[in-house]
């Protein structure tokens, strides 16, 4: 059994979780405290990756960052290489897949923070950003961590979106999920079973930690 696809999956999932974490926590912070016009639509758009077929999501990404698109061309001009069918594209795919899990969990936890604590911090002179960083974020820490672990598990297991925008290139963009598919197609059952066991162990461990964190909320007095 080759460990390379599993290691790549892990690397992609770590980077994707970090990126989706930064964007997702910021989005959750804004959405939990403000009611902007169009926030319902934004909520639907962020949640959509949870329910859309991964190929549909991959298609949207391709028409957004493909080589012939303005974004794709801009990326190619800046970096000298195309975005699609690279590891960066695999990270992008996994980030999009992980984002809704992070936003949903973090937002729910942030909305649970007592608004009087937010008000008290403001009357003590704290700017909205300082209130977010010193009161809202610490008090919703477990929900945010739960979201990050769920997002990590989702990023680790992505198949469809990655296949569409990053392809299935052994040694370059072939992640664990894609390698399992190839192994089964080629009737390398033992190899497939080995990778399935490792992926399952990772995902279940992440979900277990996530579930524990949601349940063991501190300060719930």
């Amino acid at each position: 059994m080759s460990y390379e696809p599993l290691v790549l999956s892990f690397q992609v999932a770590v980077v994707a979780t970090f990126l989706a974490g930064v964007v997702g926590v910021a989005l959750a912070g804004v959405m939990s405290r403000t009611r902007l016009p169009g926030s319902d639509l934004l909520d639907v758009l962020i949640t959509a990756p949870m329910v859309l077929p991964p190929t549909v999501l991959g298609y949207y990404l391709l028409v957004t960052v493909g080589r012939s698109t303005p974004l794709g061309r801009a990326y190619e001009t800046l970096t000298g290489s195309p975005l699609v069918f690279t590891r960066t594209a695999a990270v992008l795919a996994a980030s999009i897949a992980a984002l809704p899990f992070i936003v949903k969990a973090a937002r729910a936890a942030m909305e649970d923070v007592d608004p009087r604590l937010v008000g008290a911090a403001a009357t003590l002179g704290a700017s909205p950003l300082r209130v977010f960083l010193t009161v809202v974020l610490p008090l919703s820490r477990n929900g945010v961590l739960a979201g990050l672990t769920l997002g990590f598990a989702r990023a680790l297991g992505d198949f469809g979106v990655t296949l569409m925008v990053a392809g299935n290139i052994p040694g370059l963009t072939q992640t664990g999920a894609l390698a399992i598919y190839d192994a089964v197609q080629a009737n390398r059952q033992a190899e497939a079973a080995g990778m399935v066991a490792v992926m399952t162990a990772f995902a279940v461990a992440a979900l277990y930690v996530g579930t524990k964190l949601v349940r063991d909320r501190p300060h719930a007095w």
Binding site: D114, G119, A120, T123, L124, L139
Partner: protein
Amino acid sequence: MPGEARLLVRLLVRARVPGADGGPPRLDVDLELGAGITAVIGPSGAGKTTLLTTVAGLVTPDAGRIVLDGVALFDDARTVSVPAHRRRVALVFQSLALFPHLSAWENVAYGLPSGRRAARRERALRWLERAQVAHRADRLPSSLSGGEAQRVALARALASEPRALLLDEPFSALDDELRGQLGADLRALVAQLNIPAILVTHHREDAASLGSRTLALSHGRVVDEVAARTPAEPPQRGGGGP
């Protein structure tokens, strides 16, 4: 002393407020706040809490004007709306709203200017000493008694050096003995700092014992001013003697 109350600031609140919590749709209050505590009493729904949260900037009026000491905090005609964190109006919530993840001294230090941690702790401890709860400086709020938490909340509000102190039913969860002690300490601190304070309560006894004057609020308006009286003072007898 109540009789020596010197005029400090004028508070004008004429505003249409979103009546989300059963409060009145309009506030129409024009107060001259002296040094010491101005108690505001009134039944539920009179607008007591709405008055405080509106002045503190936690509720934004739909229209109207809020002026504190000549400074417009909100004025829809001039599109002025000073955010809560720039108003320097401290509010002690009925629930106290101590940050549960921070120790007592960290709660107090929250409103202090930024600086070295040791210096901030030092300053916070001095405030906790003034509120007579310095021995609980390193405790989390969940391990404080009701009276101790009350003192920490007061220290936290005062440490931010506010232009005005607002107190929303601060002693509602305490027994009579503790109310008396805390009330005396609160009056002393407010007198030392010489800042205007508004205390809202639905307990006439709290208003009478704490306030240098007591105003009755109804439907968002001041409808009556109850003469200042300390509990030790005998009731005034009108008319001629024997």
